[in-house]
């Protein structure tokens, strides 16, 4: 039950994009087409789950026992950067179609604040190992959900008559604001 609450909380109620403002850059940059939004969401979810596992192990088995908590920022970011590289190489070897679908998005994920935010939340909230994995899956699902909804709305926006000055980033932010309002409706769930 507790795991379920963590999942729903990360995916919907405290959505990473719309409530915590993590991962806004890809949210604005990649949400043009539904297909690329889904690919980006899947790639991010994949990296998030692995990051949750690795950063939990790193923090609890290495940094805490040796009292090196002050090194958590550099160590997390290095682990994430090398992890993304590693995932890219593995996908390239194992599945060419998947690599073609995710390829360009993978390097972008390194500078996605949602990933580092996830690692920091896990150490801040002192989740257990299983909770961390569930949290990673939930955060990834929430990110994919927000990105896909946004891409769907933006495809419709292309056809509508937006004032010239508001095209691009401004109208995207305003739409995101309305989306965030809608997501606030879930606030009472937990």
């Amino acid at each position: 039950m507790e795991l379920f609450i963590i999942f729903i909380s990360a995916a919907i109620v405290n959505n990473f994009v719309l409530a915590y403002f993590l991962g806004i850059c890809p949210f604005i940059g990649v949400s043009n087409k539904t297909s690329s939004a889904v690919s980006m969401g899947m790639a991010t979810t994949f990296v998030m789950v692995i990051t949750a596992i690795v950063s939990w192990l790193l923090y609890n088995l290495l940094l805490v026992p040796y009292k090196l908590e002050f090194l958590q920022i550099p160590s997390f970011i290095l682990v994430i950067a090398s992890l993304v590289q590693f995932v890219e190489m593995v996908i390239k070897k194992v599945s060419q179609p998947l690599y073609r679908a995710l390829g360009i998005f993978l390097p972008l994920i390194t500078t996605n604040c949602a990933i580092l935010g996830l690692a920091l939340f896990i150490s801040m909230r002192e989740y257990t190992f299983i909770q961390s994995i569930v949290f990673g899956v939930g955060a990834g699902a929430g990110f994919t959900l927000a990105l896909t909804i946004m891409a769907g709305i933006r495809e419709e926006l292309e056809l509508s008559d937006v004032p010239v000055s508001f095209r691009g980033a401004p109208i995207t932010l305003i739409v995101a604001g309305i989306l965030a309002l809608a997501f606030m409706g879930f606030a009472g769930m937990i």
Partner: protein
């Protein structure tokens, strides 16, 4: 190429012309997240500026020693070091602010403005120019954050820097201090800034056309007069 730009320009371009938030739309995550009140915005902007200036300085000093293939990793390690310094100092000296900003102080590491300036400027320019550029970009970020934080704080909780500025009769708009308010305010601000620059550009274009017309008119008038004289 870089040598011909005056030094003042390196600083001033960050304030408006290439403002990281309003013009380049970089570093959105901290901008939206921490601007619930003006003071949070100021703290965030100062922390980011410190990291940006220190990292730019160090990287432009050692730019010739970093091998090209590992430069991004090297930048990230340097940035992460300065962010750790800021994080620990904030925790020790300003525990309240540090708590209010939460994970967004460590997240300065992945702020695109900082990595972007290293890649685009500090790795190619001298130390002094890099520091000026970093200060300019930091000040631009500061202006953007304090404007956004100020607007949200005044309308959302009637205060500015914790001093009440609107009368009690004004019902605060709760939405402004919620996530949705951040998106809406920044979206509207960007839109109006675009509108302003577009209008200015059009005016300039029109005045150029007018000048050209007047010039050709007076020239043709002159030739007509000359012909009549003959």
């Amino acid at each position: 190429m870089a040598k011909h730009t005056p030094l003042s320009k390196e600083f001033l371009k960050g304030l408006w012309e290439q403002n990281p938030i309003f013009k380049q739309v970089l570093g959105m995550c901290p901008t939206l997240a921490v601007t619930v009140s003006a003071i949070n915005g100021i703290a965030m902007a100062l922390a980011t500026t410190f990291v940006l200036v220190m990292a730019s300085m160090l990287i432009s000093i050692i730019r010739k020693l970093i091998p090209n293939q590992v430069r991004i990793a090297a930048y990230i390690v340097i940035i992460a070091t300065f962010v750790t310094i800021v994080d620990l100092v904030m925790k020790a000296r300003f525990p309240v602010l540090s708590k209010a900003l939460g994970p967004f102080i460590p997240l300065i590491v992945v702020n695109c403005i900082i990595l972007g300036r290293q890649e685009a400027f500090a790795s190619k320019n001298t130390v002094f120019r890099s520091i000026l550029d970093a200060l300019g970009m930091g000040s631009g970020f500061f202006i953007a954050l304090i404007t956004l934080g100020g607007i949200r704080e005044i309308i959302g909780s009637r205060t500015f820097l914790s001093y009440q500025v609107l009368p009690n009769a004004f019902e605060p708009w709760l939405i402004m201090i919620l996530p949705a308010g951040a998106f809406l305010t920044l979206g509207l601000m960007l839109g109006f800034i675009n509108m302003y620059t577009d209008r200015k550009k059009n005016l300039e274009k029109e005045s150029l056309i007018d000048q050209y017309r007047n010039k050709t008119k007076s020239e043709s008038a002159g030739t007509v007069a000359a012909q009549e004289g003959i």
